[in-house]
Symmetry: C2
Subunit: 324 residues, 2 copies
């Protein structure tokens, strides 16, 4: 059963993909489905004996261009729709044991280029309203394959967290006449207390009201809506800042730090988003100490109210000390 259902008590869609219950779960390195195919009798997901970066449709897609018919009819109370959209896997490198932090900046720049390419191609599809590139890294985040990879989803609507950001940005624009993200980057660069790293085009900082421990946002200083608006130098700067922050993350506790990486770009549904869409990346780790995680418990899950244990200025100071 693969379908989307609308919750009338929240106005939010849940995407169901029950086949994902059987997806490959932490296979041994010799059976990694993301490694190159070295034995034709045992093909992996990538039918090449070598590759640089690979993108393909997820074998257990939550969203797809040819979704099955829904299991259930909708009612006047309950809406149901096919799970239209896209779900792609993006393999960062053929090196099974690497992490994104280990890769040369040139390879991370290629990843940024692939993100831009997928944004353009999926965003052009009429059934895709929002292109979302992300990486789930580490078992603490629930990753099911260790080979360094991310994913790109094409949602048929603007998803809830992005809608919340867009509403806040529109209110800020109406009140102040400016883009809130432009104002935030300028404020963080001027203040410096939460700044982790200031690149030529991109700054990395711990957000003022960070919800996760050691959360870091990377924002382009210039008001741009997507990676397509960046020139080659800016893309390389983004890759370099990202790479530097990830290396600092790995020094924080002396192990490769799990996190979610989210790329927020302009919706692709043709709406009036230019003035309020500002390209940024969000890094959200869960470790509040080397051995303790920030769990989303009652306050976060049931009320949506985040309680944080780490002072943003302290997190930024510690990360600055760990930069190389």
């Amino acid at each position: 059963m693969t379908e989307r259902r609308l919750d009338p008590t929240t106005g939010e869609w849940t995407t169901f993909a029950t086949a994902r219950q059987d997806r490959t779960f932490l296979p041994p390195a010799g059976l990694c489905p993301l490694c190159p195919t070295t034995d034709p009798a045992r093909p992996t997901e990538v039918p090449r004996d070598a590759y640089d970066i690979a993108v393909f449709e997820n074998r257990w897609p939550a969203l797809s261009g040819r979704p099955p018919e829904p299991d259930l009819d909708g009612t006047s109370l309950y809406s149901v729709e096919p799970a239209c959209g896209a779900a792609e896997v993006l393999v960062f490198t053929s090196r099974h044991d690497a992490t994104l932090a280990d890769l040369p900046v040139a390879q991370v720049t290629k990843l940024v280029d692939v993100w831009a390419h997928r944004y353009a191609e999926l965003g052009a599809r009429p059934d895709v309203a929002y292109v979302f590139a992300f990486e789930n890294k580490g078992e603490a985040i629930g990753v099911t394959l260790h080979h360094p990879h991310g994913q790109v989803y094409g949602y048929p609507d603007v998803p809830p967290r992005v809608a919340i950001e867009m509403r806040a940005a529109r209110e800020h624009l109406a009140r102040h006449g400016t883009c809130v993200w432009c104002d935030v980057v300028a404020a963080e660069e001027a203040d410096g207390a939460r700044l982790v790293l200031q690149g030529a085009a991109v700054s990395a900082y711990v957000p003022f009201a960070a919800r996760y421990p050691y959360e870091v946002h990377l924002s382009v200083r210039r008001h741009v809506g997507s990676l397509l608006d960046l020139d080659a130098t800016e893309r390389r700067d983004l890759a370099e800042v990202l790479s530097t922050v990830l290396r600092a993350y790995d020094r924080l506790y002396g192990f490769s730090l799990p996190y979610v990486l989210s790329v927020h770009q302009r919706p692709t549904d043709g709406g009036d988003w230019d003035a309020i869409s500002h390209l940024h990346l969000e890094l959200t780790p869960l470790h509040r100490t080397a051995t303790k995680l920030k769990y989303l418990a009652g306050s976060e899950t049931g009320a949506g109210a985040f309680v944080a244990d780490v002072r943003p200025e302290d997190a930024a100071g510690r990360l600055r000390q760990l930069l190389s």
Copy 2:
């Protein structure tokens, strides 16, 4: 540092309470701070040699009636306020090794009465806009003390998830002239496919667009905004339905199932909520199989878009089989 900061890019507050980093973490049973005080030389948090149910202020409060001054001044971009409100611990029983599912219905009814009492008392405070009772159960949820207990927060505003529910309910009311929760309970009782248990006053069902595996909502059939609107028979029915569902949860995988329990009631800020506030409880477990958790990863954390692996009708059918 204890303070609330507003994120201008989302319009949401984060509550910081850095002293919570040092809170008691999974102490051995002999040092449980929630057990009765048996040795006066080593007092626990409950200064009695026996008790039935106990409520007291959290020793590491996120929110309090006498919050310290914020660490930082606000700016035109960034708002800061003292962390006003309440954070209470509610111990369900003096029996260290019990769980809520183990307790007699009479004890669960007392818990419902205490929730109602705390709702009345905290809700009457001018600095409390929303009273939120919840339980974090199990290490998978991040619980730091095993003794069966929950918490009651008094937020100074209506928290984000509740605001989302209220907006959806107001839109439903404007369109259909009815309370969406009343319509949902009626639809679930009529359909039956997702119904887990129908009590005299309260029904338990897996929500149509459930975000968590084996998520169950308990809604009062009658349109009531808070526990204060229930009579003694209805409160006992709520306790009985809750107790029955929790026992089925523990049979699901053969171990005591971790979950978050959230009690959603009418805001207490004096606003116009009566027509759209409908008392309900949300149970959100994380286990999608006996050994695998539903993680909130990229799609949920970065985009707010839930991808679910378990078909709600299957979850309800399985739970029905496990009722005693």
